[in-house]
Symmetry: C2
Amino acid sequence: MEFLPAELIKKKRRGYSHSQAELKFLIDHYVSGEIPDYQMSAWLMASFLNGLSLEETANLTNIMKHSGRVIEFNNLKHKAIDKHSTGGVGDKLSLILGPIAAACGVPVPMIAGRGLGHTGGTLDKLEAIPGFSIDINIDDFVDRIGQSNIAIIGQTEEICPADKKIYALRDVTATVESLPLICASIMSKKLAEGISGLVLDVKWGSGAFMKTVEDAEALANLLCDTGVENNIDVTALITDMNQPLGQYIGNALEIVETNAILKNESDDFVNLDRVQDSRQLSLHLAANMVLLSGLAEDFDSALSQCEKVLEDGSAWKKWQELIQKQGGDLDKLPHAPQCYVILSPKKGYLESFNTEKIGLSSINLGAGRLKTTDEIDMVAGIKCHKKIGDFVEKEEPIFTIYSSDISRFENTEKMLLDCFTLSEEKVRPNELIVKTIRKQRK
Amino acid sequence: MEFLPAELIKKKRRGYSHSQAELKFLIDHYVSGEIPDYQMSAWLMASFLNGLSLEETANLTNIMKHSGRVIEFNNLKHKAIDKHSTGGVGDKLSLILGPIAAACGVPVPMIAGRGLGHTGGTLDKLEAIPGFSIDINIDDFVDRIGQSNIAIIGQTEEICPADKKIYALRDVTATVESLPLICASIMSKKLAEGISGLVLDVKWGSGAFMKTVEDAEALANLLCDTGVENNIDVTALITDMNQPLGQYIGNALEIVETNAILKNESDDFVNLDRVQDSRQLSLHLAANMVLLSGLAEDFDSALSQCEKVLEDGSAWKKWQELIQKQGGDLDKLPHAPQCYVILSPKKGYLESFNTEKIGLSSINLGAGRLKTTDEIDMVAGIKCHKKIGDFVEKEEPIFTIYSSDISRFENTEKMLLDCFTLSEEKVRPNELIVKTIRKQRK
C-alpha cells in the first residue's frame, strides 16, 4: 500500500492536515474494504476532535463524489440547480420550490432523502401520494430532467457509495455531529447530481440541527466554500426554525399544504394566509435557483418570475406533471380516520415552541422514524394552529393531531402541551430569513 | 443492553468521565464480542485525545485485570513482588534482579513479554538459552514460586484477555501512546499476577519511550497511583536511557552479560567494570523489591542483602536453578559465527548516543522484530565499547556487531556510525537513577 493506514490515523490524531492523495487512499481503500471499519472509525474520531481544514473538507467531498457515478448533463439549455435543507419540522419546501423553479425553466435534478429523527424526509412525503415511485434509473432520470426540468429520486447504490458506507459507520460511532464530515456528506451527494449551482436552506433554532445563528452561519459558510472549491456556485439562506414551517407536519398532511400553495388557493384544510412562511421561503429559495441558473438578471426579477408561475398556474401544472410522470395520483391522497384537538390550558401570547419536541411528537403519532427500520403511518401528523406572536385564548385549539392509531393520542397530547410557552406580554417573532450568503466559483 | 455503546463513545468524545459501571460494560462487552472493534476504536481515540482521569484509569485497570484469571498465592512466607520496565536498549535487568531478589527470599512471579520495535523482550532473551521453556501452566507456575521463589512465563490467554484484545486494536488504530491506556495495560497484567508490590523502572532519554525526565515522572506517578488505588505498594525509579545499558544488546549476548554479573566474575566477553550500570541498577531495583516484600527494615539493609547474595554465589545458584527447572542449558548458549568491529572515524569525548537507532540497528542485524511475525536471530547483536564521557581515539573500536548473516554488516555499520556524537570537551554523563518514587497502599 502507498500509505500505512495507522500512520494516517496518527497524523490526524496529532492534528496535522492530510494531502489529497492521503485522503483519496483512505476513502478508496475503505470503500473497497481494504481498510477495515475499526481503522476508519478511529480516523473519524480523530477528525471529529482535531478537525479538518477547508482544503481537506473540499478534497474529501470531491473524493466521495467520485466514489460512484457522477451525473453529466449535456443537452440542457440552462444550468442545473438543486436545493438542500439542513432539516426542519414541517419543512415541505422542496416539494413547493421544485415545481416553481422548474416552471421558470430551471433544470432541477433532485436526489432526495428519507426522514430520521425529528425531521421529515422529502421521499417519505412523496410516497404518501398513492402510486408515486422513485424507482427510476439514472439514465431515465437524466432524460426526464431534459424533458420536464424536474424529477425526484432517492439515493442509489451507484451514487456516492463512500458517503453511504461512512455515514453508517459515523451513526454507530458517535461521529455524526462534525461540521466538516456533515459538509462532505451533504456536498458529495449534491455534486454527484451534476449541478452547476446549489441553494442551501441552513436552519437555526429549536427545531434545527444548529441551535444558534452563529453556528448555522459557520456551517453555511463551510458548505458554500466547499461547493466553490468544487466548482459550483452556492447561495445559502440562514432561516428561522424556532417554530414549524407552515401549518402541517406529517407526510400526507404536508402534501395537502403543498397542493394549496402550488394551486395558489385556500381550501378546507389550508388557509393561505396561515402558511405565508412556507410560501414566502419557497419563493425566495426558488428565486435564488432561478438566479443561479442564469434565467434572471437580478434577484428581484427572479422573484417576480417565481411569483408569476404560482399565479398563472404553471407551477401547479409542473407539480401535477411531476406526480403523474412518476405514477402518483393526487386525488387518492389518504386522510387520517380520526383526529383530536388539543386546547390551550391558559391564555397569552405565543412566546416559543420546543420545535424538536414537536417533531418527536409527530413521530410518536407514527409520522416518522427513530430507527431506519421503523414504519411510517402516512396520514399521521400535527396541525399547528398558532405561530409565535399570536394571541391564544384559554381553551382555544393550539394543535390538532392525526393518526391511524388513536391509542397514540393521549401520550402525544402530554408531549405537545409541554412544547410551547405563553407570555403575558406581546412577542415579536424572529425574521424568517436572517441572511443570504452568495459565493461564486472562481 | 444496560448502556448504548454509541452514547458511551459520545460521552468520552465530549470529555466527560465514565463511571465504573460504564467502563465495565464497555470492556466486558468488547471482550465478549458484543461491542465490535469499530466502536471500541472510536472510544479509544476519544479517550486518547480527551484523556482518562486517575479514577477512570484505576477502574479500567481493575476491570481489565478481572477480565481473566487472577493468580492468588496462599502459602508464601513473604509478599510476592514483581518488577516492570518501560523498555530500553540492552535492558537485561529482569534476568539479573529476578535471581537476586529470589535469592534474598522475595517471591517473584514474572510474567514477561516479547520485544517489539527498538526494545528487546525478556522472553526472547531467555529463549536464546537452548531448551528453555516458558510453557508452564498457571497452577505449576504458582507451585514453582512456592518452591523456588521464581519462575518466568509469558502472557497466556487466561490472564487479562481484555488487554490482549485491546492492545491488538490499539496497535492498528494509532492509539498506543496514551499514558492512561499504557498504564492500564501494564498494571492490569501485573495485578493479575497476584503481587503485593511492584518495582517500576521508568526510563527517560533517547532510547526510552519517554524522552524527558518530566514525561517519565508523569508516567511513573500515574503507574504508582493506579497501583495504590488497586491495593498494592509501588516503587518507581526514574532511570537514564540515553545510552544502552551494560555492554551487550541482543538475545544470547545479553545472557552472556547476565551470566557474568550473576557469577560476579569478569570473563573473556565481559569486564565487570564496564557493566557497572547494569549491575548497579539491578541491585537497586532488587533491593526495592526486598524492601517491599518486608524482608528488610530499610533500603540500605535491603541493598546489603542483595550485594551479599551476588558475592556469596546464591544469586548465581538461583539463576542456574531457574534455567534448569525450565529446561534450559546455559552451557549450550550459541555464539555468532562472525563479528565485525566498527572503528571511530575521529577522536573525542563520547557526547551522546541515538539509543533508539542503536536498538533499530540491532534489529537490522536480526536481534529483534519490527512486526510480531518477524523471526529472531538469537546470536545477532551489538557490543558497545564506550559509554558517554569516555574518550575515544581515532580508529578505536566503538561497536562490535554480530549476526548469522554477514550481508547485514555493511548496512548496519552505516546506521551505527550515525548513532553517536563526539565532543572536543569533556562530557559528564547523566545520573543513572534520577529519582525514586515510593507509594504505599492506604
